[in-house]
Each structure stands twice: as C-alpha cells, then as structure tokens.
C-alpha cells in the first residue's frame, strides 16, 4: 500500500492548498486611502486689463487710464436705399394659324426679332447707371418646332465683364407635346448697365434685342398653331457695386432697435460714480445723397437692474443734417457729422453709470430732404452705408460702492461624481492689493441655471491699498481669506454645482473720485488644503 496512487494524493493536497489561497473571491476593488494635501492651486496678477482689455485703454504719461470704447450704434446698409428685385421678361412666338392648318417654314426663318425696352421695377428710384457686383442673367428657350432654333439676346446698353453685350443659345427641335428646352447663364459680376434707354433720356430702362431663327443649316420646319418658341430672360440675385441716379425723397424709420454692449458684462450690481464722461457721436454718410436724421431716442438699458436711462442732449431735439458723400470715381469719401457730449451739456455720466448691457435707439431718416438737388447724380457704392458710432472716453476716476463683479467657474476636480477623490477642504486666497479699493468675496455654489445651491462662508476681506496724500496708492496691503468646503458642498461640485464668485468692490475713499493708474495690480494666490482620496472615496 505504500506506493498506492501517490499522484492523486499529491494533487489533493495541492487543491486543498489552493482553496485556502483563492477561494471563491471576486475581483477586488482597488485600495483606497485618504491623504491630506496642501498645495498651491493657481497664481495670477489682477490688473485693470483683466476687466478692460488693453485695446480699450488709453494710458497717459502719468499712468492714469482712460477707457476708450467704440460701439456702432446703427448702420444703414445700401439695401435700405436700393434693392433690385429679381426681374423676368418673356418673349414668345407662335403662328396664328387656324384649326389644323400647317405651314412650312424654311431653314433660317426668323421666328422672333424684337427690340424692347426692359424697365426695372424700382419704386422711388430713378437709376441711370448700374454696375453689378454679383448677379446672374438666365436665358431659357422652349421650342415646340421641329427644327433647331438659334436664339440671341443682346443688351446694347450693357457691357459685360468680358466686353460683350449679349449671349446666344440654341435649342433642339421639339414638338407640341414634347418641347425641347435649353438654357444658358451669364455671370453679371462687373457688368455695367446704362439705364437711360436707347435715347439716353429715360431711367431704370435697358434696351434689349431678342431674336430667334430656325437653324439655317437645317431643313426648316412645318408648324401648326400648337407650335411656338418662347424665350425667357431673368435677372436674379443682383447686388449693386455702383448705382447712380436719383434715389428719391422719402423717410425711412429705423428702430426701436437694441444693440448689446459688453462693457459691463461682469458687473452684477452696485453703483459706479464717474467723474468725467465724454461721448462722441459720429455719423458717417457714405451715400451720395443728402440725409436728415432725427434721433428720437437713445437709451441705456440695464436689464439686470431693470433701469433705463434716456440720453438727454440737444442732439435729440433737432435734426442732424448730413451732406452727401463725395464720389471719387472708384470709391467714395464719406461726409462726417460729429457731436461731443459730456457731463456739462448732457446726462451722459448718468447714462453710463447705469452700466447698460443694451443700447436702445430709434430714428427717422429723410432721404434727399430737399429733393433732387443733384439733378440725378445721387450715387452709392457697395460699401456705402450710413453709420453712427459712439466713441466713449471715460477717465477711470471713480467712486465704486458695492460694485459687484461676478464670475462662474466650474472647478475641474480630480476623479468623478462616482469616485470622488476630494472629500472636504479649505480654499485660501492670499492677496497683495495695490488698488485703492477693498474687496469682499461672496462664494456660492449654483447649478447650471445659476440657481443658488449652497453658500461657502469666506473668512476675511481683501483690504485696499494704502492711499497717499495725493490720492494714489503708495503701498500695497496683504490679506488672507479662507473658505472651508464641506463634504456636502464638494458633492455638489462633483455634480452640477459650480462656483459663483462675486467680488464686492468699494473704493477706499467714498467721498472723492479715485484715479486708477496702470501700475495698480493685485497679486493673488489660491491654495487648497484638502482630504484627497486615492482611487476615490466610494
């Protein structure tokens, strides 16, 4: 018995041993543990350029900053004055034969030969010349005759870009029940039209010559009263490069219209008291006709606060007369009207202190208010437009009271909602402030729609830089702020939550305007002390 089935005994022992090692264990989850992390998150230097781009700043030699902001109030494009509709003309030929009579036409027989005047439907306009920037001339032929028909379309008053003035098309033989079709197209870019007609004494009129004949090399055709040849000419998608004539005398009403203004996008609430504001309204007329504009209203609308401020200035009381632009032959020189508004002659400071996010305006525009005093020499180029610009100049000499700037930040936390690696922690902000204003930070957690979810208490304020006797900051101050985040708040941030950071600014002297200098800066550093879960906490 000593040597009975030794292999089986060894194998049994082996299996028993294996079972103690692995059992029926499932794949294990990863090991997790928490570590206390203390690290800097980000560092930045806050300057005026962070809220006012360099391109909008004018820095004087003494370092004082003036906000220079330009915004188009309105622009009236060419199509308000001149719009050429798509226009079609049809030329048809049919033999007036009775009953079932038939008639033999020889080869080369001219079935159409017409000289016409094309009149464009341009109400209020009397154009004598038109240069096309873009456009298409379609020529389509339908033939029910049993012969090839050759057609041609000529515009004696036009010169196409290639120097020609017509186009030709040929259509194969057709029948009354199965007509033949043919079409051709011409790009009208740079085509010039003399719209004075054949005797140069009309307007909006273009002479044309249409002809069609049976193929001279064919065998002619037998036609009945069912047979016909139809030529359709269509001008479409015309865009004017240059137009000349009389543009009519009428009134165009613009608005009320609203333009967005992004100057105060980050400002949520508070008041801003500006020492000086200068607003230049600049109107440019690039159209070769006289204009008279009545600015009915110009409003600064703050949709966040619901407050609207009407601009009050003499410019709103009387019309603005604009001379016609000057035709330079290959371009134009706009006429310009300018009017400067400031605190003394208007309420422009209140207008701006409303911190508008919208500008609303309405105006009436009289075209040729004195009639056709140019004797049909109004003109416009493709780029001609009437536009009004607002040029704002605001020296940053201000009093800010509880001025709140807001920013929404979705923190990019390590891990994900299911495997959160941060459990709780403290954010610390270290500020070295060289601005003459203090800052209080309000930190909230909001959802995607900015609905409030939770408040994160912030301990400490950013103290203002120390003012010298000259009203300028002569020493920076250091501040330390701390915000503790609970586990529940971290949960929110791993989900839909995001930080809403509001900074409440107050200038350190509320009794006088303080001038901001371009050297002012605030160094900021944010650090985090957090419990970090390696491999997540779930």
């Amino acid at each position: 018995m000593e040597y009975d089935r030794p292999l089986i005994r060894v194998a049994s022992l082996g299996l028993l041993f294996l079972s103690t090692l692995v059992g029926c264990r499932k794949d294990p989850e990863p090991a997790r543990w928490d570590v206390d992390v203390l690290a800097p998150l980000l560092i930045t230097r806050f300057t005026i350029a962070d809220i006012i781009p360099d391109s909008l700043q004018d820095v004087a030699s003494d370092g004082s900053i003036t906000l220079v902001y330009s915004e188009t109030l309105f622009a009236v494009d060419m199509d308000t004055v001149l719009e050429i509709p798509d226009t079609s003309f049809v030329y048809a030929y049919a033999l007036p034969l009775p009953g079932n009579d038939a008639f033999n036409l020889p080869a080369g027989f001219p079935v159409i030969s017409e000289n016409n005047l094309i009149r464009f439907d341009l109400p209020d306009l009397a154009l004598s010349k038109l240069v096309v920037r873009e456009g298409i001339l379609d020529l389509r032929m339908k033939n029910k005759m049993g012969s090839v028909v050759n057609g041609s379309f000529d515009l004696p008053g036009a010169i196409f870009a290639d120097g020609s003035s017509g186009l030709e098309v040929s259509v194969g033989p057709g029948t009354a029940t199965d007509p033949a079709f043919s079409s051709t197209q011409r790009d009208l870019a740079q085509a010039s039209f003399d719209l004075r007609g054949p005797f140069f004494n009309e307007v909006n009129t273009l002479a044309s010559s249409v002809s069609a004949q049976l193929d001279p090399n064919g065998s002619g055709a037998t036609v009945t009263n069912q047979d016909s040849v139809v030529i359709t000419v269509q001008y479409r998608d015309l865009v004017t490069q240059y137009a000349k004539g009389y543009f009519g005398s009428r009134t165009v009403t613009v608005g009320p219209e609203t333009n967005g203004i992004g100057l105060f996008d980050n400002v949520v609430s508070g008041t801003l008291d500006l020492d000086r504001v200068r607003l230049k309204i600049k109107v440019e007329n690039g159209i070769g006709m006289d204009l008279r504009i009545r600015l009915n209203s110009l409003q600064a609308v703050n949709t966040r606060t619901g407050v609207t401020v009407d601009l009050e200035h003499a410019i709103l009381d009387g019309p603005i007369n604009l001379n016609r632009a000057l035709d330079l032959g290959n371009g134009f020189q706009s006429s310009v009207y300018e009017n400067d508004l400031d605190n003394d002659d208007s309420n422009v400071d209140l207008f701006l202190e409303n911190m508008p996010d919208q500008l609303q305006y309405s105006l009436d525009m009289d075209l040729n208010p004195l009639g056709d005093i140019s004797n049909g020499n109004d003109f416009l180029y493709h780029d001609s437009r009437l536009q009004a610009l607002l040029e704002l100049e605001v020296p940053l000499d201000l009093i800010a009271t509880d001025l709140v700037l807001e920013n929404i930040v979705k923190p990019d936390l390590p891990g994900n909602e299911e495997e959160q690696t941060i459990q709780d922690g403290t954010l610390s902000l270290f500020a070295t402030n060289g601005f003459p204003f203090s800052g209080r930070i309000v930190l909230d957690i909001v959802d995607r729609d900015r609905n409030f979810l939770s408040a994160v208490p912030v301990q400490g304020d950013i103290t203002a830089g120390i003012l010298g006797a000259d009203g300028f900051v002569n020493a920076s101050t250091a501040s330390e702020l701390h915000a503790a985040l609970t586990a529940e708040q971290i949960d929110l941030l791993y989900g839909e939550g995001r930080f809403r950071v509001r900074i409440v600014f107050n200038t350190s002297d509320q009794s006088q305007h303080l001038r901001l200098l371009d050297r002012y800066a605030m160094d900021l550093q944010i650090t985090v002390g957090a419990r970090y879960y390696v491999n997540g906490d779930e």
């Binding site: 060894v10 022992l13 082996g14 041993f17 090991a31 203390l38 800097p40 930045t44 930040v409 985090v528």
Partner: protein
C-alpha cells in the same frame, strides 16, 4: 496579469531547490533515485519581504477597499530612518533532466528549463511613505526627504539548456531571455518642501527612470531580448560523515537589451511651484491644465531609445553539515541584484523522518526584509514522485503584524 491569476500561477507551480535560497538538503533515502533516466519537475515560488512595513498593509492593498488610518499608522511607526525596503518575487519553472548520454562527459546529464520571472523591489524613505499614505500636509514648513530611493520591476521569461552532474547535482545552463516589461527608477536625491499654508511646493530631483515600451508589457509582448547563465557548483569538504557540503550558485546572470521603443527620463532639476499661472482671474474656465501642459511644466517628457540592463541575478553560497543520525545543519548567504536588497543570511536545521520525509526549519535575516522564521518539507510519494513545500516565514500565515510572506512548492516526477 491580474492579481488572482498571479496567485493562481504561483500556487499552481511547485517549487524546486534551484530557486530557493537554501535548498532543502539532499538526502539519499528521501530524494528520487538518481538512477531514473528522466526527471521532470514543476516549480514555483512567491516570496514577499519587507523590512519595515507590516504584511497587513500590502495584504489590505491587495484586498482593496479603504485602508484605515490605524493600519497605515502602524506601518509608519515601524519605518526605519534609513533604509526601508520591500520586494516580491514570483517565479515558475519547468525543468527536465535527462539520462546521461554524452560519451565525452560521462556522469553529466542534459537539463532543459523554461521559466517565468516577475520581480519587484523598492527602497524608500520614511518621508516617502508618509507622503504616499498621509499626504504632504504634515510637511508644512518642512522638507520631505525622498531619497535615496529606487524601484525596479521586471518581468521576463527564460528558456535554456545545460548539463548537470549526476552525482553532485552541480549544473551549468545557458538561457535565452525574453524581456516582457521593465521599469526602474533610481532617485539619488529628491526632496519636497511644502511652504506655509501650502503656498509653495519646492522639489529637488536627481535621478532617472527607465522603462520598456509603454505601449504594453503584457504576456504577448516581447520588448527586449537577452541571454543569461545559471550555474551551481556543489562540493564536499572534510572527511567522511562530517564532510561539509558546499555550494556556490549563480542564477539569471545576464542582461536584456530593451528595444528602441523603450523610454527614459533623466532629471537633475529644482522646481518651485506656486500655482498654475493664470492670465485672467475672470477667465478660469479657459485654463487648460491638461496632461500635456503638466508634463511640459515638470519636464517629464520621455526620450526613447534602447538600453541594456542586468537581470536581477542571484548569487549565493551555502554550506551544510551532517550532525549525526538524521540531523543536518546548513547556512547560506544570498545577494540579489535588486534595489534595497542586502545580503540575506539563512540558517537551516533539518531532520529526516523515516525514509521518505524530511523536515527543515529556517531562520533568515536580510534581503528586502528582516528576521524570518520558516519551515520546509519534502516527501517522496512512491518511487517516482517527490514533493516539496516550504515557506520562508511561518508567522506570515497567522498575523499581519509581521513582515514577509512566501511559499515555495514543487513536484518532481521520475521515469
């Protein structure tokens, strides 16, 4: 390879004296008769060792789930101010010994062997452990010392052939090495200083990192090739019954050339971090702290290119003496080419029980660990089968508050 499959592989493969520090002594009555023409043996070994961290920590990591503070704290309290080391070795081998067939070398038998090796070892500082398991917060206003430290992980397979002296058991074998994966870091100097309130992190680093192709290190990948030699010389010294059996052994003494897709980073740098520099505090959503930006900032871009590295070879010397009757006493010293590994001394006492069983007890000190107490046994089943089972540290099976855990098993079949 999953942890479960590693464990299965380890458990399925029996062990042989070739891979052990101190082979269970040969005994003519217990061992397989040398007259058998062929002997096929399957061998396997798993050996984890550490000189400071308690077993309960790596076992808890393997189990997964939350590692409690007490658990981590106990191992931290056991750390040494100087060298802390840990390592594990997983090896499996199939060995064939054939009949003597060389006319020119009578008494020498052919041997062939296929083996898999998975070796990891690390040397780390007390502060590294604290940083990894407790974070840097407690180093506020202090400097964490992160060097000297090193890490090496290498997986490779060998296939080779050689000769074994039938009478003494001495052998020599030449192996072809297939490199599967390699990663090694050698940090000569590194520190992390955490400023007050975490406002500054300052690191210094002098070291390098080498790794095989990062596209993968699975069993299906060959990322390097090399050669290695293995040899053991057994001899007797002294007269008669009390002669001392001496053995010198060298295993996996060779190298692997890791291919051109291998990567390396060599750094000698000082880096101060005060936070990600943001241009505009009101445009934080535009801040992109992606992997690329981070790698650029820290200068951790790989360079690629081939390199050659020695295998984690093992050199050992052992001696044993018959004490009379069935008792035997042995001693061995082993050194491995691994970070944190110091010469390991092992004492062994063995006793034959009957004619088919031999039991041994071991005590060892050094290597990647400290003092370990083990047991070993081999038993012959019938005439053809010999099984061996041993562990270098018995307490490892009973408590987590000890260091080291291992198991060797093997089975040989003669025909």
């Amino acid at each position: 390879m999953s942890r479960t499959s590693v464990f299965l592989l380890t458990a399925c493969m029996a062990l042989n004296g070739m891979a052990q520090l101190l082979p269970v002594p040969s005994d003519n009555s217990v061992d397989l008769n040398r007259g058998w023409g062929h002997v096929v043996s399957v061998q396997g070994m798993f050996d984890y060792n550490a000189n400071s961290v308690y077993n309960e920590l790596p076992l808890a990591i393997r189990r997964g789930g939350y590692l409690g503070t007490d658990l981590r704290e106990r191992s931290r309290n056991a750390l040494h101010a100087g060298r802390n080391a840990a390592g594990n070795i997983i090896e499996g081998r199939i060995n064939w010994t054939g009949p003597a067939c060389f006319e020119a070398l009578p008494g020498w038998r052919p041997v062939a062997s296929i083996a898999h090796h998975d070796v990891r070892a690390t040397r780390f500082t007390e502060d590294q452990y604290t940083l990894a398991f407790f974070g840097n917060a407690e180093f506020e206003n202090e400097q964490a010392i992160l060097a000297p430290s090193a890490y090496e992980e290498v997986r490779y397979q060998t296939i080779g052939a050689g000769l074994q002296h039938a009478a003494s058991g001495s052998y020599v074998r030449l192996d072809l090495v297939r490199g599967q994966a390699y990663a090694a870091a050698d940090v000569k100097w590194a520190s992390l200083s955490t400023g007050e309130d975490g406002r500054t992190l300052r690191t210094t680093f002098l070291g390098d990192y080498y790794a095989s192709d990062t596209a993968g290190g699975g069993f299906d990948r060959t990322n390097g090739l090399g050669i290695a030699a293995a040899a053991r010389w057994n001899t007797k010294s002294g007269p008669g019954e009390h002669a001392v059996d001496l053995g010198l052994a060298l295993e996996d003494f060779g190298f692997v050339v890791w291919d051109a897709n291998s990567v390396r980073i060599q750094q000698d740098t000082l880096f101060t971090y005060r936070g990600w520099e943001v241009e505009n505090i009101f445009a934080l959503d535009n801040v992109n702290i992606g992997e690329d930006e981070l790698l650029d900032t820290l200068g951790l871009r790989y360079e690629t290119g081939a390199f050659t590295r020695l295998l984690p070879f093992r050199a050992s010397i052992d001696a044993s003496i018959q004490l009379g009757g069935s008792w035997r006493l042995g001693m061995g010293v082993e050194q491995r080419n691994l970070p944190g590994f110091v010469p390991q001394v092992t004492m062994m006492g063995s006793r034959r029980i009957g004619t088919r069983t031999l039991l041994a007890a071991t005590a060892s000190y050094g290597g990647s660990g400290a003092l370990r107490v083990g047991l070993a046994a081999k038993r012959r089943f019938g005439k053809r089968v010999l099984a061996e089972l041993s562990t270098p540290h018995v307490p490892g099976f009973f408590t987590g508050r000890t260091r080291g855990l291992g198991l060797t098993a093997g089975i040989g079949f003669a025909f």
